[in-house]
Amino acid sequence: MSPDIFIKATPIVLQGLQLTLIITICSFVLGQILALPLGLARQANSPLLRWPAATYTFLIRGSPLLVQLFIIYYGLGQIPAVRNSILWPILREPLYCGIIAIALNSAAYMAEVVAGALKRVPKGQTEACISLGISRRHRFTDVLLPQVYRELLPNIGNEIILVLKSSSLASAITIMEITGVARAFTARTFAPFEVFITAGILYLAIGFAFTFLFRLLERRYGITGTRTPAPEASA
């Protein structure tokens, strides 16, 4: 271990910071956006909505993210139809592929969480809406989803950390984010310990910043202990 290499490694590793943040934030946001319709479909009454969503989450959650990254980046390019499609400029770029793969992955996990939280909202909330004549749409936008997302704030804060850590896999498809530059630097210096410890500390710092941000959000918007207990069965 030499302090010299730590000092040398720091600016190098920091070069990857920007890409790590871009991948993390873009994948996270895209993942959250996709998770809502998926989560709604997951607990819908119609099997036509439920089954495709269930299949999607099964496939994504059941296979490694690294494999999904390879399939999207290396695999899709093999198909002429993809190469000729308007999506090719996006799927050609490793960065976009990385963001898409991680977002699809995050969406699958979040969809299950959203569906679970929707099921946990007491039935009385829906009944109150019906008795007041509130339409299905407003029931979701004004009553159910605000409660779901307030309850899920800790899970969402957790999810962005998971996405941050997943972003390191993007180095496997040539993206020079923190892990990517750390690997390249190690190849030159043969000092993996110092370089990866520097990278690890940087990940911790970013993770801490996200955690702090979500703590603030929770304090501002979270609802705790407000759930009325499920009504007892009565005649």
Partner: protein, 244 residues
């Protein structure tokens, strides 16, 4: 105002309502009572379309309710409901709880809805709590907010499903007082309750249910002083001390 004909309701293989027919006139105050499991809550929940029924016809506040309840939103707040568990929206303050349906269903502008809601809260002596969240209120206050929320829709009928059963004993009276005051304003009401004192004071008619059927219907004095059925007498004996 309410017309129920041969209402039958199964939960799986269990028949919980077995051919209920009930007519309620405009301005009439009905107390629905009976032992637990007799089907009284299920009856009011069928009447306002929260439960689908297995057979029978329901007409309420000028709406013919379809058997699958697919047109339940057409009632559009005309039939107010007060639940045992309050069911306030926990993420909204009291004022927003009251104005949500006025704005979304009645399409009232926010300022108008808030003025109306504030007037309603003042009536309930809750004006000072307009900005509080439900979790910051006592059970009795929460239930009064729930009543105010339903009243803001200017319902033609109010249904109360055991409104005081989830309350601590010292809070029961404040809710009953509000309901008694409402009954004097000529609102059509159906109240499921075990509060027999309230029933005697307020009801025009008491409907006694047991085993999914209506066993007895009578004016309070007749009901309490000369019950016709053995089951009614037994029921009154069991809850007897609460009539005074």
């Amino acid at each position: 105002m309410i017309k129920v004909r041969n209402l039958v309701k199964y939960y799986g293989p269990t028949k919980v309502l077995d051919g209920i027919s009930l007519d309620v006139e405009k301005g009439e105050r009905i107390v629905l009572c009976g032992p637990s499991g007799s089907g009284k809550s299920t009856l009011v929940r069928c009447i306002n379309g929260l439960e689908q029924r297995s057979a029978g016809d329901i007409e309420i506040a000028g709406h013919v309710l379809k058997a699958d309840c697919s047109n339940v939103l057409d009632l559009g707040g005309d039939v107010g409901m007060v639940f045992q568990q309050f069911n306030l929206f926990p993420h909204m303050n009291v004022l927003d709880n009251l104005t949500l349906a006025m704005r979304r269903v009645r399409r009232a502008p926010r300022s108008e809805a808030e003025a109306q809601a504030m007037a309603m809260l003042e009536r309930m002596q809750l004006g000072a709590r307009a900005k509080a969240y439900p979790r910051e209120l006592s059970g009795g206050q929460q239930q009064r907010v729930a009543i105010a929320r339903a009243l803001c829709m200017k319902p033609k009928v109010m249904l109360f499903d055991e409104p005081t059963s989830a309350l601590d004993p010292e809070m029961v009276q404040e809710v009953l007082d509000v309901m008694t005051a409402l009954s004097r304003e000529g609102l059509t009401m159906i109240v499921v309750t075990h509060e027999m004192g309230f029933a005697r004071n307020v009801a025009d008619r008491i409907v006694f249910m047991d085993g999914g059927v209506i066993l007895e219907e009578a004016a309070p004095d007749a009901f309490f002083d000369h019950p016709q059925h053995n089951r009614t007498r037994e029921f009154l004996r069991q809850i007897g001390p609460r009539t005074h």
